[in-house]
Amino acid sequence: MEIAGEILRRSLPEEVGVSYGSSSDSEELHVLAVDDSYVDRKVIERLLRISSCKVTAVESGTRALQFLGLDGEKNSVGFSDLKVNLIMTDYSMPGMTGYELLKKIKESSAFREIPVVIMSSENILARIDRCLEEGAEEFIVKPVKLSDVKRLKDFIMKGDGEEKGRRTILKRKMQDDIFSLSSQFPASDSVSSELESSTPLYLSKRPKLLNRG
């Protein structure tokens, strides 16, 4: 219903390039990288920039939550410019671990849909399982490679690609009858995401992408 509302608001032909909730109007993904190691932040920043992503690198889970506006403080920054498409966080950090950060993000209605990837130098099965069960998209063993970033980017862009496909349909339909569009979109978009989060994510990883459309 919210989406149909947006269409109505942006009904002018020149504003047809609607991006409902995906990365800002540009094609670039915005990644929030969290790592207490200065060296690792520098490397991940470079990996992401070279993969044409916007990067915000912070040193702790606390800072990450502050950036997202989840720290309980009144956040005056508008999120439309800061829309985060992916969070990559180190697991072992002093204070808040990557796991704890993951939980906080998945508990937030505003941010739970953002894919979270955990990075760790330790390949511990129990740790991996725990993170995936909590909703991590993936668990990457450090050091992170360029191929890892490329794979992640493709994975996320594919999800957006399906939404873009929808937007192309939107464009054509715009010329016709705007009101017929409201029947195209599942009104229960929020309901379907509720269902998704109740199933163990590592089982429903792929279907989750398909259901988004």
Partner: protein, 150 residues
């Protein structure tokens, strides 16, 4: 020195770093991230590593002077150090970190001290070798130093 000779010199200098186990695949990964706009990225990261890890080394040294030793704290410090070392491809240094952590887990204080001495040696040796290598690559230019075709 003629350009071709410089190229060969660079190739001859870098190979032993890998063959002798000082550097691993991760160093190559970092080189892949260099381009005309960021020609000295690897050197920047390595410089950052040595600057940043100096603090960790000091902390570990101080922790090793405690009596009794806090193995948990030592393990945590070394985990951080190992992580950074791994990120730049410092293979031998990383191996010493692993031995150190094994000693921590075994509660072997003397083993920790011994391993740490060895670690510092490898750390210093690598630094010298990399400094010499970067001096050379700066003369040649970035495009020629990456060993993988772009």
């Amino acid at each position: 020195m003629e350009r071709n000779q410089l190229h060969r010199l660079v190739a001859l200098s870098r190979q032993p770093l890998f063959d002798q186990g000082f550097l691993d695949e991760q160093f190559l990964q970092l080189e892949e991230l260099q381009d005309d706009a960021n020609p000295n990225f690897v050197e920047e990261v390595v410089t950052l590593y040595y600057r940043d890890s100096a603090r960790l080394i000091l902390n570990i040294e101080q922790a090793l002077e405690r009596n009794p030793l806090d193995f948990n704290k030592l393990d945590i410090l070394m985990h951080q150090f190992k992580g950074s070392s791994s990120s730049i491809g410092a293979k031998k240094v990383k191996a010493e970190c692993t031995f150190f952590r094994e000693n921590c887990r075994a509660g072997n204080g003397e083993g920790c001290i011994r391993t740490f001495q060895q670690l510092k040696k490898e750390y210093a040796t690598l630094r010298k070798k990399l400094e010499a290598y970067f001096q050379l690559t700066r003369q040649v230019g970035p495009a020629e130093t990456a060993c993988r075709p772009k």
